[in-house]
């Protein structure tokens, strides 16, 4: 088996070198397909992290009327205390709200002074245990609080996170559909290129079949050729993605991360990168198999 493997690798490398122009075509097709798929995976993996980071710090904001009484506040705090899912709650006074606004928006923060008076309401920021049933519980508490005297409005991030997750799924779906179509096209290109090298070696193949060479020796080089094309294409796609990431990171990605409150925009995780390379090799392997399938119909 080792000899058959070595024979397949030797012959595949020699064949790739001989047919390097057509090989470049199929390798580029695979690289393009995986670059696009990898690009979508890059976007969705960061959107996933965004959802996760937003989710882990999600809070419910309970805005109070300006004329809220101490009794009403006490009743609201008792409502929080009765909920086991709530980790803690913090009262933000109107003055504290203004101070935070100025801190967050820097130079623009002073604009609030021109409005006259303090337009920002006092509020409670409520943090939750994340877990199953959280959304239902939040909806339920939100409904109770909206009916509670002294409460002006209730807002929570879950709706945004839900929308974000829907967007992630749509983007991921588009990525998979587009990636799959391009992958099929890449596999067909590999199959055709491997068929060309098969045609170039038809005299050897005839001899191999007549002397009873094992199937591994007959098909192996073509499958290996496809596999190598796929692997090289996938690595080229990853390198192109990495270069694109490095070029864009300082100028665009870091400010974008900061704007959307994400710790950092990261490159594809190792398992996805490895998955792309393995996927590319499998696609190439499939193309090689398709091309060489009929070779042992003795």
């Amino acid at each position: 088996m080792t000899r058959a493997f070595r024979y397949a690798v030797d012959e595949a490398l020699a064949s790739l070198w001989r047919g390097r122009q057509s090989g470049l075509l199929s390798t580029s097709t695979i690289a393009l397909a995986l670059f696009i798929l990898g690009g979508f995976l890059f976007v969705t993996s960061n959107l996933d992290r965004l959802g996760s980071e937003w989710g882990s710090t999600a809070e419910m904001s309970v805005y109070l009327n300006d004329d809220v009484t101490p009794e009403q506040r006490k009743a609201i705090e008792q409502t929080f205390a009765s909920r086991a899912a709530i980790v803690d709650s913090e009262y933000i006074s109107k003055a504290a709200a203004v101070a935070r606004f100025k801190e967050t928006f820097g130079d623009l923060g002073t604009a609030i002074d021109t409005v006259g008076g303090n337009p920002l309401p006092a509020s409670y920021e409520v943090r939750w245990h994340s877990g199953s049933g959280e959304q239902v519980e939040m909806d339920r508490l939100g409904a109770v609080l909206r009916r509670t005297p002294g409460v002006a409005d209730v807002r929570y991030d879950r709706e945004w996170i839900g929308r974000l997750l829907t967007t992630v799924n749509v983007v991921r779906g588009i990525g998979w559909v587009l990636g799959s179509l391009l992958t099929v096209a890449a596999a067909l290109t590999v199959a055709n290129v491997v068929r060309l090298s098969l045609y170039a070696r038809r005299d050897e193949l005839e001899i191999m079949q007549l002397v009873g060479a094992p199937t591994a020796y007959i098909r192996g080089p073509f499958v290996m050729e496809g596999l190598l094309q796929g692997g090289i294409g996938a690595i080229a796609a990853l390198v192109a993605l990495a270069i694109g990431f490095l070029v864009l990171r300082a100028r665009y990605l870091t400010p974008l991360a900061s704007a959307v409150n994400l710790s950092a925009i990261r490159f594809l995780p190792v398992e996805l990168s490895a998955g792309l390379v393995v996927g590319g090799m499998l696609v190439g392997c499939l193309g090689g198999l398709v091309a060489a399938w009929h070779l042992t119909d003795s």
């Binding site: 000899r3 058959a4 024979y7 005299d203 050897e204 005839e206 001899i207 191999m208 079949q209 007549l210 002397v211 009873g212 060479a213 094992p214 199937t215 020796y217 007959i218 042992t296 119909d297 003795s298």
Partner: protein, 228 residues
């Protein structure tokens, strides 16, 4: 390369027929026997069915009817992997040599063992031995296009022999050679046969057959017409 001559038939056909799609009967009701260790000529005019019989014996095609056994094995019943195993016991030689142009003489012969997974050191030793036997050890680094027709056919014979087959099948092996070279090639076949290998040579060259003087099976229109 010396083989024992265990008694029994090497090739056996019973009522063998081959009908092609267009209704052409290449072989009709052919029954014959070639014993182990025999040297037999298969002769007849073009279209007599010689090449068809060789293709059936190589298991490149299947008969339409009848029985075809080689070395006691029913060829029709072989699975794909059994066909591969069977072909490792048969050497083939064609009129047009069918050498790989981009391989040297040495590589053409060693290729057979290479694709059968034989260790490299064994490949080298046996290739050199068989090239010396056919008298081409001095040309082992040459490419086929640099060789004469007779030399190319000797390379093809070396390639057929290197795997130590039980049976050699040759389809018009001297068809592209002048009479002197043809006799030289026939002498090689006689030597191969003297070592115990069964040899079946298809040729329409009656003069060559008369000169070599071996058993002859004559076909015409796919039928057996004479055994001499």
């Amino acid at each position: 390369m010396i083989r024992g001559r265990a008694p029994g038939p090497m090739i056996e056909t019973h009522h063998l027929s081959k009908l092609y799609n267009r209704g052409v009967h290449a072989l009709r009701d052919l029954s014959l026997k070639v014993d182990k260790g025999d040297f037999v000529f298969l002769t007849g005019p073009s279209g007599a069915g010689k090449s068809t019989l060789l293709r059936l014996l190589l298991r490149e095609e299947l008969p339409s009817e009848g029985v075809l056994r080689v070395g006691g094995r029913e060829l029709v019943a072989l699975t794909a992997s059994q066909v591969q195993a069977y072909r490792r016991t048969v050497g083939f030689i064609f009129q047009d040599f069918r050498l790989v142009p981009r391989f040297t003489v040495f590589q053409n012969v060693a290729f057979v063992m290479r694709v059968l997974g034989v260790a490299q050191i064994v490949q080298q030793r046996k290739t050199f031995q068989v090239l010396r036997w056919v008298g081409l050890q001095h040309r082992m680094n040459a490419y086929p296009e640099e060789l004469s027709g007779g030399e190319q056919q000797r390379v093809a014979i070396a390639r057929a022999l290197v795997n130590e087959p039980h049976l050699i099948l040759a389809d018009e092996p001297t068809g592209n050679l002048d009479p002197d070279l043809a006799l030289e090639i026939m002498n090689l076949f006689r030597e191969i046969n003297a070592r115990g290998t069964t040899v079946l040579v298809a040729t329409h060259d009656r003069e060559l057959i008369r000169h070599v003087g071996r058993r002859t099976i004559a076909l015409e229109h796919g039928r057996l017409v004479e055994v001499a």
